[in-house]
Every structure is written in structure tokens, then in C-alpha cells.
């Protein structure tokens, strides 16, 4: 039952990032009433409404980090009436995990670049440089805010956030 329901709800496309503090996807979808309060509360206009690629979850809040990432100000969980977003500690936010594309990342191609490391709010724990000066993500500490995705100078971006909730 669960998998058919899930595919109906989220379509066959990769899951999109939810605002910080979002519950497990299934619980989130059951609770979110698409009232737009999180969208209206975001000072960075990061939170948009999902389209039909999200199936019946159309209208739920999503974040497209390449356009506007999440600055983890944690205002939106406080205004959510349904509990789909829960107030949590910044370091406990789990929107997803950043993954570096070693084929296109400038650092891996021998060009000195640390844009993603410099922008990261959990610099040196969530993402750091190895001895070859390449960015390495520690999935235990990465909260998936997508600031690195926005900062990446490669086109298309060489770092993405994969939804792992």
C-alpha cells in the first residue's frame, strides 16, 4: 500500500527539498495543509509551491536551492500551524545531504575553488577540504540547506542536495 501511495503523491520525480524542520515525508504530506504561512514568513523568499511533478502533493512547500537556498533562520517552523514543520535546533535540521559531483567540480579538475566550503554554515564539520584541496561532505553534519548549491560557480552546479528524509 505504502509504495503505491507514495508514488501517487510524489510522482516519479526525485523528491524536492522541504523547508527546515519538516517531518518524515509521509507524515509531512499527511499534515501539510498548503496554507502558505511558511512561504509568507520566509525573509529570503526561499519557499515555493510544488508543481505537478510532485503529484498530488502539488502546492506543498519546496525549496529550489540553486535559485534561493535556505538560510536556516528557522522562522518557518514557528509559523506552521499543522506541525508538518517542527521547530528544531539548527544543527538538527535534516533537509538532505550535499553530494559533490567529482566529474565537474572545479577542485576535482585541478582548479582552486572553495566556494561551497566558505559559504557553509557548518564549515569544517559538514564540508571540508581534504589534502588534495577537494571538498568532502560529512553526511552526519550536513543539514542540506543548499547554500553550497547556490554558491557553486560550475554550470550546471557540481554540488547538489539529495533528499534523504
Amino acid at each position: 500500500m505504502s509504495w503505491t501511495r507514495r508514488s501517487l503523491l510524489t510522482g516519479f520525480f526525485p523528491e524536492e527539498l522541504r523547508p527546515p524542520g519538516a517531518r518524515r515525508e509521509e507524515e509531512f504530506l499527511a499534515l501539510c495543509i498548503k496554507c502558505g504561512r511558511c512561504t509568507a514568513s520566509c525573509p529570503y523568499q526561499s519557499i515555493r509551491q510544488a508543481g505537478w511533478t510532485s503529484g498530488l502533493a502539488v502546492g506543498t512547500p519546496v525549496i529550489h536551492p540553486r535559485e534561493i537556498p535556505c538560510y536556516v533562520c528557522m522562522i518557518c517552523p514557528d509559523v506552521c500551524p499543522s506541525g508538518a514543520l517542527e521547530p528544531v535546533e539548527k544543527s538538527m535540521v535534516d533537509m538532505g545531504e550535499a553530494v559533490v559531483d567529482t566529474e565537474t567540480c572545479f577542485a576535482f579538475l585541478g582548479i582552486l575553488c572553495r566556494a561551497c566550503i566558505d559559504i557553509c554554515p557548518f564549515q569544517d564539520t559538514a564540508i571540508f577540504q581534504n589534502l588534495d584541496l577537494e571538498p568532502v561532505v560529512d553526511t552526519e553534519f550536513c543539514i542540506g540547506c543548499g547554500l553550497c548549491v547556490k554558491a557553486c560557480p560550475a554550470e550546471p552546479e557540481a554540488i547538489r542536495v539529495i533528499c534523504t528524509r
Partner: protein, 295 residues
Amino acid sequence: MSFARDDRGRIRWTRFRRLSQLFFVAFFIALPFANRYGVVEVLGTLASLRLGPVSLVDPAVGASSLLAGGAFTVTILTGMILPVLLALALGPVFCSWVCPWGLLSEMVDRLLGRGPQRIPGWLGRLRIVSIAVFLGLSAILGLPLVATLSAPRLITVLPLEIIFLGGASIGTLSLLAGLLVAELVLPRRLWCRALCPVGALLVYLRTPWTLRVNWRSDTCDPKIDRLKGRRMCVWNLCPRFLETYSGCTNCGACIEACPGGPEPSLYFAFGRRPAPVDTSLLPVIYSAVDRGLEE
């Protein structure tokens, strides 16, 4: 002759209703501008609205979310209290006095020049089916389907997207377009009247003591039959044949249109008023009784 009263001295309900509807339209257009300036004390749409410490939640949307998740927050539960109390006291006035989609629907209806239509009886009973389907599917899918298709949510989230985010989303636009097509293709205002789960739930919150349109049997013109009586009603209801769950939203159009002097035969009152005694027959009865006593 004034703004509030017509030349017969009767209250112009529709004017007050338009003012109320336009106020909410203006409110939901102004709100995203305020939000852009950092206001977070007042925010939201007609699915859920934050007014400082008070949170309001659409009862149908809240119920749908409850059934979908089996979980709820205190905010969702307490947020439904005020809207439910409003509906218990004044009936589904949300539909006729607040909802911007209702205003749009009325305007479309007027532009199309639609008058009373002969509507099969089962269409009116669609309302209960609509609630059952929407809430049932919400539980089965594990998704608050009422929220997805709620016209008041969609029409108030649109200015938020356009003004706050700088562009409407495909999802909102396509759903609104779908509703507009339904408005044009289906019988007169069928979405509002029978299919919209938000309004349907509010109709069933009526009680025998809720504000309703009453009629005076002594002054009401008996020549006005069911078809004439419903001519002024945008929902095609005749005020003389109102039942508790007919779907009347207390818009007041029939009271305003009621022929006669400053005291119309139709009036708002809480609950059903007993029909006044027909005094015109009293002399006949008295004389009959008198004769009986004499014999």
C-alpha cells in the same frame, strides 16, 4: 435613499455583503506586501490565517488533515473553534460574505446572465457525497485533499505567490483554471453550491437555532411560487421552502428583493420562528363559537 437603505427604508444587504467581500479581497492582496516588509504576525491564507496570537484554520481543511495524518497539533484544533462557532451562529456566511472565490463565482454568474435553472433534485444532495469523498480520499491517500482543492485557499494563495514570490505557481494556476472551467460548464454555481468541501461542511454545521431567513405567512404573497421565489437567489433556493440543510448562506438577496413596504415578509432571525396566527379568520371563528354557545 442612502447607502445603507433603499427608498423603502429597507437594509441593502447586498451592498454590505459586497463591502465585506471586497474587504477580504483587499486584505489578501495587501497581506503579501506587508509580509515582504517582514511582518510575520499576520500571515497565511484562507486555509489557515495567523492573526497575532490567534490562529484560524478552515474546519474542512483541518478535518481533512486530521483524517489524513491521524496526528494533529493544538493549533489545528483550536484554530477551527472560531470558524466553527461562526458557522454555528450565523450559518455558512463564510461562503457569501468572506470567500473571494464566491465573489468571483457570483461575478461570472452575473456576466453569463444565468437565471433560475431547473436542477435535478439529486444535484442538491451531492453536498454530502462531496464531503464523504473528499474526507474519505484524504484518509485513504494520507493527504489532506480538501486543502489541495479548496477554492478559498487557491484564490488567496495566488496573490501571495504573485506579490511575495514574484510569480504564480503552475499548480495553483492550473487548479484555479480547472475551477473556472467547472464554473462555466457545470450548472449554475454548482462548485460553490454542492461540490466545494469547505462550504459543504459549513452548511452541515447549521443547527435549528442558527441565523436563517424566516417568512411571514400573513404578508407573504401566495402568488409567488417556488420558481418565482428563487429567482433572486444565486443558489436557486426559494425562501419559503427552506430547510435547515438546503444550503442557504444567509446572503440576504431574497430579503432585499422581497416586494412590499418597509417591513419585508422575509427577515433574518435565529432559528425558525413560528408562523404568526392568521388574525383575518378570527371574527369568523368567534361568531361561530358565539352561535354555538347560543344554541
